[in-house]
């Protein structure tokens, strides 16, 4: 614990030291065990027994206080008060240790911002892996085969890919799908054959001692080494914040080349034994590629739709909602792998297909859970992969051949550059937005290799490929070269070349409007031109989606919600949350600065004779009051936790009651109508139904508040509203007449409710749009209100009924 505390010390060099210490502590743990995480998946439990058991067996018996070596003596011994059975918990304990090490390392790097700004995290993690491996070796233990292929492909890879697929920016991805496919398929094929072929040629040169290497293993090696690795690309590209286009090009390529790699790998592996490849095999290979890629996508899509469909019915068991998504995705991956289809493509398809529907169905909280779990899993997996890569480097038997390794590295670079430049030349003929030379450079340079290549190499059969160790060494070298050299230099190069960076800004509502507008405009222009392009088909698909698919997969009424409205609601929701969390400070930290109020943009039309819509103006004190009310209302929605329930965390008013909300809104509107009919001389703004999210929040928090307004408002200062504008003196007169005639209690009550409601609406609307309130005073014509105590009462905001409610503990 003390180590952790000191870690926070700001001085860089010192915390470096501390981190070393931390590492050491970790290593002592690890050394003590020095056992395989891989053993978890490796079948030879007996071997594990032998290595792990010995030293601790002694301890066990020592502590138990028995000198007896044999367990079968029946002498009575003292009951073991404390016993140690490490073996019992060994595997999970070690897994936890590795995960803990990975997380602590990640934590440590982020405490030293200076270091992580120079060296990418992936490099640091590999170094840590090397150190850990080295220490294990120093301790005289056998380094565990941590990067076991099974472990890698079944446990570590899926979370990263699912994360990537789920958060895949669909729009740029689909817009550039042609280019991405070109790079992924043709580019990878080119790389594989170029590298493999030339390597074979080099191996035939006398004096390299490599003449025993045949063509097919070379090609196999080429296909393993040529694929760009999504894990490495993600790790590096997330840090350099490159613009969206380049990011999606490199990243998309790394995802989609999986199918090519899988097919090439199996093809060459198959024929390495047989030797001969006929043209028939090539044709079969092409068919196999189509099946592997399209089949993978199909499997993923099916599971994605299933997940979406399931999430339609989970509104009563919100807690397990996220689980469905993870399980369906994992099943998709496993199912695809079962048929040797592309598991990566299945996961991507699954994530991308399910996302829009699942997001509409699951609750806000579940969505957050999904997001966090995905991010957490993927980042831990990523960290573990890089650490394991380091450990595996230390562990593995190496066969270093200078020629082979250096030729591999050079050929990889050369083929990548030629491939990208050549393909871009072709692609640019078809692209509307051409790729510039800079773009090509980054795409070529961003082709990092990673742990997938290593794991594929690791899978090779020792008997079939006697040169497996040399291959592994070359693969590791290539990975290290790309991750260290290219990964470390790409950031300065991006800065040097002034490649456009990603804009981090939040999307504004104007941008959203114009994005939509542009889509429709371009579709329209294409239709006028009479040829069916990209936009036309996208529009068709969208409409089909809206008409049929959404109806089936999205529960309730939300499928009708157009994108723009959904965006607006989301934005509003965010602002409401921010408002609450900011503690009602005067300045709202939202996207909309509170400098401009509604009345600044409201056209100044002459007030209509009866119902004038001026905004209420409040003094500072009143403003505070309103904020308080609003806050407590929103807080109350969070305090709904009445009783503990295993299946629901909190009755979630924001999501569960959409239908309910619509109903209430209907009633609200009716009420408003009634109000305007009854008391249209009151000049408070009517309820404005334009902020459903806020309404939702309010209604859900206190559904009764609007219908049974508490007449009294003790302790809460009343808020006076600009009752009648000077332009409409009639209204005051009417009002007076009305009060003289004596309103019936009922109508007064109704009006009360309506007015309170309207007023609060007005206030809230101001709130959530970032108002600037002006001190009331001179302009205020409050005589009507002052003359009539009843009216006065009705104008006062009901507010929180008792103060102690606010003192309740704030439940998260």
């Amino acid at each position: 614990m003390s180590v952790r505390v000191v870690l926070h010390s700001p001085s860089g060099s010192r915390s470096f030291l501390e981190r070393g210490l931390l590492l050491l502590v970790m290593l002592i743990f690890l050394e003590g065990t020095a056992l395989t995480l891989g053993a978890a998946s490796s079948p030879d439990i007996s071997a594990q027994d032998n290595t792990g058991g010995h030293e601790h067996l002694d301890d066990h018996q020592g502590i138990a206080g028995s000198n007896d070596r044999t367990n079968y003596t029946y002498t009575k011994k003292a009951f073991p008060v404390l016993s140690l059975d490490y073996h019992h918990i060994q595997v999970p304990f070690e897994i936890s240790l590795w995960v803990l090490l990975a997380s602590l390392m990640k934590l440590g790097f982020h405490l030293i911002p200076r270091l992580s700004s120079i060296v990418p995290e992936s490099c640091l993690l590999i170094v840590v892996g090397l150190l850990v491996g080295g220490l294990i070796k120093l301790a005289g233990e056998e380094v565990p085969p941590v990067l076991d292929s099974n472990l890698f492909f079944l446990c570590l890879l899926p979370p990263i890919i699912l994360d990537a697929g789920y958060f895949l920016p669909i729009r740029p991805f689909m817009e550039n799908i042609g280019t991405i496919l070109m790079f992924a398929v043709v580019g990878t094929l080119w790389n594989a054959f170029f590298v493999g072929g030339l390597l074979y040629a080099v191996c035939q040169i006398e004096g390299t001692y490599l003449s025993q290497v045949e063509l097919l293993p070379c090609l196999l090696f080429g296909s393993i080494i040529s694929a760009v690795d999504p894990v490495a690309v993600l790790a590096v590209f997330e840090e350099i914040h490159i613009n969206e286009l380049l990011h999606i090009l490199v990243f998309g390529e790394s995802l989609l080349n999986d199918a090519v790699t899988v097919v090439l790998y199996h093809l060459f592996e198959e024929y390495s034994g047989a030797g001969e490849v006929t043209p028939m095999d090539v044709v079969l290979g092409v068919i196999c590629f189509l099946i592997v890629s399209l089949g993978g996508i199909a499997v993923g899509a099916i599971y994605g739709i299933l997940a979406a469909f399931t999430s339609r019915f989970t509104s009563h068991t919100r807690v397990i909602e996220p689980l469905f998504m993870f399980v369906y995705s994992y099943m998709a991956y496993l199912s695809a792998e079962m048929f040797h289809l592309s598991g990566i493509m299945a996961l991507i398809a699954c994530g991308a297909v399910m996302r829009p529907y699942v997001e509409a169905n699951i609750s806000h909280k579940s969505h957050t859970t999904v997001k966090y779990f995905l991010k957490m899993w993927s980042s831990v997996s990523e960290t573990l992969i890089f650490i394991f890569l380091g450990v595996a480097t230390v562990a593995g038997p190496h066969a270093w051949n200078w020629t082979f390794v250096s030729v591999t590295v050079i050929l990889c670079l050369v083929s990548r550059v030629i491939g990208v430049v050549g393909l871009t030349f072709i692609i640019n003929k078809f692209r509307i937005v051409k790729l510039t030379t800079k773009d090509q450079f980054i795409v070529a340079y961003g082709g990092l290799r990673g742990a997938i290549a290593f794991s594929l190499g690791y899978l090779l059969d020792k008997d079939l490929f006697p040169m497996r160790t040399m291959f592994l060494t070359a693969i590791i070298t290539e990975i290290f070269f790309t991750v260290f050299v290219q990964g470390m230099t790409i950031k300065p190069l991006v800065d040097l070349l002034a490649v456009k960076k990603k804009q981090e800004a939040k999307r504004s509502i104007n941008e959203e409007i114009h994005t939509q507008f542009l889509d429709h405009l371009l579709t329209g222009i294409e239709d006028i031109c009479g040829h069916y392009g990209h936009h036309h088909w996208k529009d068709k698909l969208n409409r089909f989606n809206k008409k049929y698919i959404k109806k089936c997969l999205i529960a309730g009424e939300r499928y009708k919600e157009p994108q723009l409205i959904a965006f607006y609601h989301k934005m509003e929701f965010k602002q409401a949350i921010e408002l609450v969390e900011s503690g009602g400070g005067v300045k709202l930290p939202s996207a909309v600065p509170s400098q401009v109020s509604m009345q600044n943009i409201q056209p100044k039309k002459l007030p209509p004779p009866v119902a004038e819509r001026a905004l209420p103006q409040f003094t500072k004190g009143r403003e505070e009051e309103i904020r308080k009310i609003l806050r407590s209302n929103l807080q109350k929605t969070r305090q709904r936790l009445r009783s503990y329930n295993r299946h629901t965390l909190v009755a979630d008013p924001f999501e569960d009651g959409w239908n309910d909300f619509l109903l209430k809104k209907q009633r609200l509107i009716e009420l408003e109508k009634k109000m305007t009919e009854m008391s249209n001389y009151l000049t408070v703004p009517g309820a404005i139904p334009d902020s459903p999210t806020m309404c939702r929040a309010r209604l859900a928090s206190d559904p009764n508040a609007f219908y049974n307004i508490k007449a009294s408002s003790d302790g809460v200062p009343t808020i006076q509203v600009d009752l009648a504008s000077p332009q409409s003196p009639d209204s005051v007169n009417m009002l007076n007449e009305f009060s003289k005639e004596g309103a019936t209690g009922q109508s007064l009550g109704q009006r009360e409710g309506a007015t309170g409601l309207g007023q609060r609406e007005g206030a809230d609307r101001d709130e959530d749009q970032g108002l600037m309130m002006k001190p009331a005073g001179k302009g205020e014509k409050g005589e009507g209100g002052n003359k009539n105590p009843g009216l006065m009462r009705c104008l006062s905001d009901p507010g929180p009924s008792n103060e102690d409610e606010e003192d309740e503990p704030f439940l998260p």
Partner: protein, 235 residues
């Protein structure tokens, strides 16, 4: 391309090509489309565009069609609307959607950007007073949501208001309560959309080639739907 040579007004195309930046082939194809839409007349009317079946489900159809008849989009400093347009004007309007060249200087990029945004701005600014007022903006959003029923109409106003508020707060900073934000001027418009890379997005692909036999079929039969199907295959 055989069809292109058979077209009589080749020299005329050179003129148009210089003016709009389209290639001869593109002009040829667009001309064919123009003739088809206008039923072989020299001018195009609103009704001709209104009857395009694909356009009927576009929520902003009226605005798109109006843009073709808006003098501001003809590069001639005109104002107001016209009843019918010739092929040249059709082409000029279309040229707003031409993709940019590969190597542009920053200045060229900025010019193209302004031009494209001006087109958008003019679509919103229906009364041509240089500002998009709240009313106009509301109208835009309403049209956008016009296909989504009652829910859309209700929310459209709120969205437009929020958007306008955002513009006002971005472009004006602090405002006194009695000040009035007139509407979005073009400068403000540029400012709020600076993150949308309009120069790379407001483009459509204009076909360079047209299969000859397909065109012959169309010429002989004047069958609209056949062309639709044929080009579907091309695309």
């Amino acid at each position: 391309m055989g069809a292109l040579q058979s077209l009589p007004d080749e020299p005329e195309y050179r003129d148009l090509s210089e003016k709009t930046g389209f290639s001869f082939e593109q002009i040829g194809i667009l001309h064919k489309r123009f003739k088809q839409l206008s039923h072989n007349e020299d001018t195009l009317r609103r009704d001709d565009l209104n009857t395009i079946p694909d356009l009927s489900c576009n929520p902003i159809r009226t605005q798109i069609i109006e843009a073709f008849f808006d003098k501001r989009n003809f590069h001639q400093n005109g104002e107001g609307t016209v009843q019918e347009i010739s092929f040249e004007e059709f082409l000029v309007v279309m040229s707003h959607f031409r993709p940019p060249a590969l190597d542009m200087t920053e200045e060229q990029r900025e010019i193209i950007r302004r031009e494209k945004l001006r087109f958008l701005f003019n679509m919103h600014d229906t009364d041509n007073d240089g500002t998009i007022t709240l009313e106009e903006y509301r109208h835009v959003v309403e049209e956008l949501l016009s296909r989504s029923g009652a829910l859309g109409k209700e929310t459209a106003k709120g969205i437009a208001d929020a958007a306008m508020l955002e513009v006002a707060s971005i472009s004006m900073g602090h405002m006194e309560p009695d000040e009035f934000y007139e509407g979005i001027t073009f400068e403000h418009f540029l400012k709020i959309l600076k993150d949308i890379e309009i120069e790379t997005r407001m483009n459509i692909r204009f076909l360079n080639m047209d299969t000859t036999n397909l065109c012959k079929k169309i010429n002989s039969q004047q069958d609209h739907y056949l062309q639709v199907n044929g080009e579907q295959k091309i695309a």
